[in-house]
């Protein structure tokens, strides 16, 4: 009889694809290299594995914190909510799905609109939240992003949209489809006003989001190995009745096919955005401090967002 008995399964170095969310708890295993990482270290590293540079998916607020100077921004239109225009029910009512997403994320829908300073430049950023119904675009996401672009046209500031979305939200039917048209029309105005628009595509960016604003940047920048495409891989496999090649619809594939300008490590993203924006004649913010917007000031890391009226 052995003196020691293995009561737990050994830490298998499985290479199987796992959802790259940062789980709760003290430590997390990197799905890229199997390394066990302290959550605290991961957080400090913008949720990028220090060993293999695997990019864990991050939320909209973490994203904004990583881009705005001193992690400070002003949030806009946080209270817009979907009223379930189709009265949609599948295996459960869409209303319930909305309610539980609102509860679990603390957001009212799948995007945060923020203004603030990025390396001293005034910018408008829309960051999508995947954990809100797959980051899907319904009427609220479409409306908020459109308003964000309109703010930018109004103030003559650049727009950055960080996409993280499974596409249009089918529970809002053709109304969600039309958000593709609405946001793209607003981008046409931004374009004609000669203002910068940078699209940042993160894992995953698919469907109606890719086929509208995510592909319309003056620059399209992707995070490494992000899934980016129009049709989902499974749909394509069904169409062609064969397995898709390794790396198909990943950021690097899109660069090779001329659809993405560059792939950038999350830790370099802010600096790269600042360089591009300066080329695009983005104006430095006025020197005097103070909050330009009187909506809601958010300081990253604060337990509760600091609200200003």
């Amino acid at each position: 009889m052995a003196w020691f008995k293995k009561t737990k399964k050994p830490l298998a170095s499985s290479t199987a694809e796992k959802p790259s969310r940062v789980p709760e708890g003290l430590m997390v295993k990197c799905p890229g290299c199997g390394q066990v990482i302290y959550n605290k270290d991961l957080e400090k590293n913008l949720a990028v594995c220090p060993k293999c540079a695997h990019h864990f998916r991050i939320g909209a607020a973490e994203r904004l914190a990583s881009l705005f100077d001193a992690g400070r921004w002003t949030e806009h239109f946080p209270d817009l909510t979907s009223n379930d225009p189709l009265k949609f029910t599948d295996t459960k009512p869409y209303r319930d799905r909305l309610r539980s997403s609102i509860k679990s994320t603390g957001l009212k829908d799948a995007v945060i609109i923020a203004t603030g300073r990025l390396d001293g430049l005034d910018v408008v950023i829309a960051a999508m939240e995947y954990s809100f119904i797959g980051g899907s675009m319904g009427v609220v996401v479409g409306e908020k992003i459109t308003r964000a672009i309109e703010i930018a046209v109004d103030r003559r500031q650049p727009v950055i949209i960080v996409s993280c979305s499974g596409g249009a939200r089918m529970m809002e039917g053709a109304l969600s489809l039309m958000q593709m048209a609405k946001v793209s029309a607003a981008l046409a105005r931004l374009d004609r006003a000669k203002l910068p628009y940078i699209s940042v595509l993160t894992d995953p960016t698919t469907g109606g989001v890719t086929a509208s604003f995510a592909m319309l940047g003056d620059l399209n920048i992707a995070e490494p190995k992000a899934l980016i495409g129009f049709a989902g891989p499974r749909v394509i496999e069904q169409t062609i009745r064969q397995k898709l090649p390794e790396g198909f619809q990943r950021s690097e594939f899109l660069v090779d096919h001329g659809m993405i300008d560059l792939v950038i490590d999350r830790r370099e993203l802010k600096a790269a955005l600042a360089r591009a924006l300066r080329f695009m004649r983005a104006q430095p913010a006025p020197v005097e401090a103070g909050t330009p917007d009187a909506e809601i000031l958010v300081v990253a890391g604060a337990v509760e967002p600091e609200r200003q009226n």
């Binding site: 209270d79 817009l80 189709l86 609405k182």
Partner: protein, 321 residues
């Protein structure tokens, strides 16, 4: 069951069989009278059925393989049609037709998906069943830019299951092709009238469907996802497509209520596929009036109105405290 009738038209199929049997027998006045009587009954049954179509039944009508194609309408309502090919970048996509023609004697530009409806399998394969690839959207935009340059109105015919979900579509940037069209059509400085006359399949439809007025045929559908796909994802069972079709609110009356379309084009009783001639005549009335009204607008107002039209879409679904 005759191939032309749909699953819910069984009473009609039965009568058609009876007529067929009668017509095989030697012709007499009495027999002819019974045949005429049967035809009248078919008409009245058809009228009843089509008054109460369910959303899923509308999906079937919208996808009927004899539903008029863009070219069926072009041949009946337009003259001097000259088809133009290619996106000048990669290839010519037969799933989207583009060309110029005269409508009521005025030059117009036409773009439209073509599923190969009315044709045999070879035709359908040639048209890739209406699944357009990036080059199709780029051809359409190239044609529309011609219309803009020479100040001719655009008429866009929408009938596609979806953009082609295949490897080469992704390689050549189907997303970018559709997205770019959305942006450019929003600002295209010439009148655009959109006619959703068959299947409005998601982004693949929208990619050539931005305009000043959106007309939609009575039994057409326009949806963010096909009911089968929606059922497969949300119910995890594509057999629940009938429920999904209902939940998606993809019928013309639904979309009129949401402000997504401007006007419903009536169809012959029994659907456009039963009578192409009449279907074309009914479209003609709506199209002539619509085109005249958008052409009469001054360009700046027209573009602003187009922007505001799409800008307002979805407001009905938002609660703002």
């Amino acid at each position: 069951m005759p191939s032309d009738t749909l699953e819910f038209e069984e009473p009609i199929a039965v009568l058609l069989k009876e007529i067929e049997a009668l017509s095989m027998m030697p012709q007499t006045d009495q027999r002819q009278q019974s045949i005429d009587g049967l035809y009248r009954r078919i008409e009245s049954i058809r009228g009843e059925i089509y008054k109460h179509l369910t959303p899923w039944q509308r999906v079937l009508v919208a996808r009927h393989s004899n539903r008029p194609s863009v070219l069926d309408y072009v041949n009946r309502l337009f003259t001097e049609f000259t088809e133009i090919a290619g996106d000048r970048r990669f290839a010519d996509d037969h799933a989207i037709v583009a060309g110029f023609a005269r409508y009521k004697d005025e030059p117009v530009l036409i773009v439209g998906h073509h599923k190969g409806s009315g044709g045999d399998t070879k035709q359908k394969v040639f048209r890739n069943f209406g699944y357009a690839k990036p080059e199709g959207y780029r051809k359409a935009l190239r044609a529309m830019k011609l219309a803009e340059k020479f100040q001719r109105p655009v008429i866009a015919f929408i009938d596609t299951p979806a953009a082609y979900p295949g490897v080469e579509s992704e390689e050549r940037g189907i997303s970018e092709a559709i997205a770019f069209n959305l942006r450019e059509m929003a600002a295209l400085d010439t009148p655009i009238v959109v006619v959703v006359h068959g299947e409005g399949g998601s982004g693949g439809a929208l990619g050539i469907a931005i305009g000043d007025r959106i007309l939609m045929h009575e039994f057409s559908i326009y949806s963010v996802i096909p009911p089968e796909g929606c059922a497969a994802i949300l119910w995890r069972d594509s057999a629940r497509k009938v429920e999904a079709a209902k939940a998606l609110k993809l019928t013309a009356p639904d979309l009129l209520g949401f402000g997504i379309i401007d006007e419903i084009v009536p169809e012959p009783i029994g659907g456009a596929h039963t009578n192409h001639e009449l279907a074309a005549a009914l479209l003609d009335t709506a199209l002539e009036r619509t085109l005249a009204s958008v052409s009469a607008m001054d360009p700046v107002t027209r573009l602003e109105t187009r922007y505001q039209k799409f800008r307002a879409m979805g407001s009905v679904g938002i609660t703002e405290p």
